[in-house]
């Protein structure tokens, strides 16, 4: 066997191992989702069977109709959508303005300090600030309001979003373009608004996706600040199925609700995936 053939075989093996690793990691990551879907469509008598069956003996979709009458799922999803979209829009506005300012107008040293402050803020566990934040909101009469939720989500999302979008501005937007616009008489805000924003869409979208998913998945704050049923987001509402001692007699319907709840996030990822990857990699590789 000559060296060329040997190299070729090695290359093929490398590709095979690559795909085997990908397959195993995918199985590991997707197993909980698989289990959620299979439990939702299993016939009732098989849901809690021991040992568990990997495949249902027949498909049953009755849970997909029952789930809407078991809990006010539509109301919960509407609440989640309103809060998550508002928090996303506000976070993106603040993060974009802040990220651009840090990227372009602050001196190197100040830039580093602001960067460190934002990084440190990410190191503080959210639970540490929760009680003080609760009493601030309570005294401002913002408990049991969407505003109280949105403010907290924006406060938590903005630092990381700023870091993301700043990296994007640093790496993906050449300063030369802005200088050309300045020569043509564009103001500072004009450069940001007319030149930088339109070509930063991938970065902005990836930032927005991060803010949306953070707000959509959040449970702890929402469960503390809200007590009115009609305001509950879906992350809290799904707990209606959990009884005392964490007992759940409606496992299949809970899984069905889980599937429905993940659909908005999946749709967003599916449509905006290419922006997300390019937005993240632009900052990560070159920033």
């Amino acid at each position: 066997m000559n060296a060329k053939t040997k190299k070729k075989i090695q290359k093929v093996w490398k590709v095979i191992w690559h795909y085997i690793s990908l397959f195993l990691i995918s199985c590991f990551v997707l197993l909980p989702y698989y289990w959620m879907i299979v439990t939702a469509v299993k016939p009732t008598e098989e849901v809690m069977q021991s040992p568990a069956t990997l495949l249902p003996s027949r498909l049953s979709f009755t849970n997909f109709t029952k789930v809407w009458s078991s809990i006010p799922l539509a109301t919960y999803m509407k609440n989640s959508m309103v809060v998550s979209l508002t928090a996303t829009v506000v976070s993106v506005i603040f993060a974009t303005l802040c990220g651009y300012s840090i990227s372009r107008y602050i001196r190197k040293r100040a830039q580093r300090v602001s960067f460190v402050i934002m990084l440190v803020s990410q190191l503080i566990p959210g639970i540490v600030t929760m009680i003080s934040l609760y009493f601030i909101m309570f005294n401002m009469k913002l408990t049991n309001t969407y505003v109280g939720l949105v403010i907290a989500y924006v406060v938590w999302a903005v630092p990381f979003c700023t870091l993301m979008i700043k990296s994007y501005f640093d790496a993906a937007i050449p300063v030369a373009i802005e200088e050309s616009a300045r020569i043509d008489g564009c103001s500072n805000f004009g450069i940001f608004w007319r030149v930088c924003l339109p070509i930063s869409v991938p970065g902005i979208i990836s930032t927005g996706i991060f803010a949306f998913i953070t707000a959509w998945n959040e449970y702890m704050w929402a469960s503390i600040i809200l007590s009115k049923d009609k305001l509950k987001p879906v992350s809290v509402g799904i707990y209606d199925f959990i009884g005392q001692y964490s007992a759940n007699t409606k496992m299949a319907i809970t899984m069905t609700a889980g599937i429905i709840i993940t659909i908005p996030a999946i749709i967003i990822f599916a449509f905006l995936q290419k922006y997300l990857i390019s937005g993240l990699s632009a900052g990560a590789v070159k920033g």
Partner: protein
């Protein structure tokens, strides 16, 4: 004509004024709004909402008081009640637990309101089971009116019993072992393939099983005043020995240290014939998740050590309804608590949510005493002691897996002698304080 009109007008005004006075006397809190927090119960969230819709509507019709109920999830209930007692958002009335802790953290301004007058009005402390008083009464003052309750019974597979020629549920520990031995199937190496018996509390958590056993042989966890742990007794050692022997000597139940092991799931799958210490909700759980088991299972009071009657041979748990000091409508709130905790409403809620009740009269209703599944619960609860100790540090003392009591039980099962395990447990409890 003019005089007649004036007289008619005056008469009408007087009638209207009189009617509104009568109405005001009938409904002194008409137009009052209350907020009520309640945790999630029952097998279907929509059933709880429908039941609360009916009860609040009936109450509003009778009193004019509107009650806005909110279902609080179990995951955040403790934080919410803690915040309510320490200056955060509080409802007027709430379904509470850990009453002693909440009462201790309450201040003059915030927290739980003392309800001794309401207790007297509702018939005094004998109205409720012992666990109800132990949970709601702190240092002689009542901070809630007991409502829901729970106790532990034996669940068994009637088909397995029939096949093994067993005609009645065991009433003593000896019978329990004998029956479980008949029902247990092992492989050639002696490993259990079908367990005759399983403890309800899974994941190697033996404390609650042991509490039941302690009561069954006439012991108690603490003295009557809850000032001293009574662990170093013959009954305590007898219960620990039985707990260990069922696993290690008789080989009738699995040493369920596997975190994924769930006794009722195994029962539903036909891998276990008896489950020791199930709760009232178990029936719904089985019917919802294993409809093929319908008609093939039954409940019975847990067997006692010797079959001899001892006064409190079961354990029970209770939770009260409390009023917060921050309410602006204390009297209306008391009306709501009185109504909600009344026998009729409690019976209705028990039926709808599949719960047992702390009110002795409710538990004596034919709904409980004549139902094949529930009568074991009504028998046990009438003759039970409190399963949770009314201590502020109880959640630490009974914390799973490393709290002193769960550790003591696990150590004995794993081979430590009872005297050493008890001594270690008592010294750990002393370090925590109570």
């Amino acid at each position: 004509m003019k005089k007649s009109l004036i007289a008619l007008g005056m008469t009408g005004t007087m009638i209207l004024a009189g009617t509104s006075m009568v109405m005001a006397e009938d409904k002194p809190y008409d137009g009052t709004n209350l907020v009520f927090w309640m945790q999630a119960y029952g097998s279907d969230p929509s059933i709880q909402r429908a039941a609360l819709d009916k009860v609040t509507a009936d109450f509003q019709e009778q009193t004019g008081i509107s009650v806005e109920y909110n279902i609080v999830d179990w995951g955040s209930a403790s934080q919410k009640l803690t915040l309510a007692c320490t200056g955060g958002e509080a409802p007027d009335v709430a379904d509470i637990f850990f009453t002693k802790s909440l009462a201790t953290m309450s201040s003059d301004e915030y927290g739980l309101m003392e309800l001794n007058d309401l207790v007297e009005e509702m018939g005094g402390e004998d109205t409720w089971i012992t666990a109800g008083k132990d949970e709601a009464c702190v240092d002689g003052d009542w901070y809630g009116i007991p409502w829901r309750a729970d106790t532990r019974v034996l669940l068994y597979n009637t088909e397995d019993f029939e096949n093994a020629g067993i005609t009645e549920a065991p009433t003593t520990w000896d019978e329990l072992v004998e029956d479980a031995q008949k029902l247990t199937v092992t492989d050639e190496d002696g490993n259990i393939t079908h367990a005759g018996l399983a403890w309800y509390s899974d994941m190697g958590r033996y404390d609650q099983t042991w509490f039941s056993m302690l009561a069954q042989c006439g012991g108690t966890l603490m003295n009557d005043e809850f000032t001293e742990f009574t662990l170093d007794t013959e009954q305590s050692k007898q219960a620990l020995a039985f707990l260990s022997d069922c696993i290690n000597t008789y080989n009738i139940c699995s040493n369920s240290l596997d975190a994924s092991y769930d006794a009722v799931t195994e029962f539903m799958s036909g891998n276990v014939s008896m489950v020791f210490g199930v709760t009232g909700e178990t029936k719904n759980n089985i019917l919802q998740n294993a409809p093929q088991m319908e008609g093939k299972f039954a409940s019975a009071p847990l067997p006692t050590a010797t079959g001899a009657e001892n006064e409190k041979n079961g354990i029970s748990f209770s939770a009260p309804i409390g009023i917060f000091k921050t309410t602006e409508n204390a009297d209306a709130a008391k009306e709501w608590v009185k109504y909600f905790c009344s026998e009729d409403v409690q019976l209705y809620m028990s039926q709808e949510l599949g719960l047992l009740n702390s009110n002795c009269a409710v538990m004596e209703n034919s709904y409980f005493t004549e139902d094949d599944w529930l009568k074991a619960f009504s028998t046990t609860i009438a003759n039970s002691q409190s399963g949770d100790m009314p201590l502020t540090t109880w959640s630490q003392i009974d914390a799973w897996p490393d709290g002193p009591i769960p550790s003591m039980c696990a150590n004995v099962v794993n081979g430590t002698d009872a005297d050493t395990a008890i001594a270690e447990c008592l010294s750990q409890i002393e370090a925590i304080g109570f």
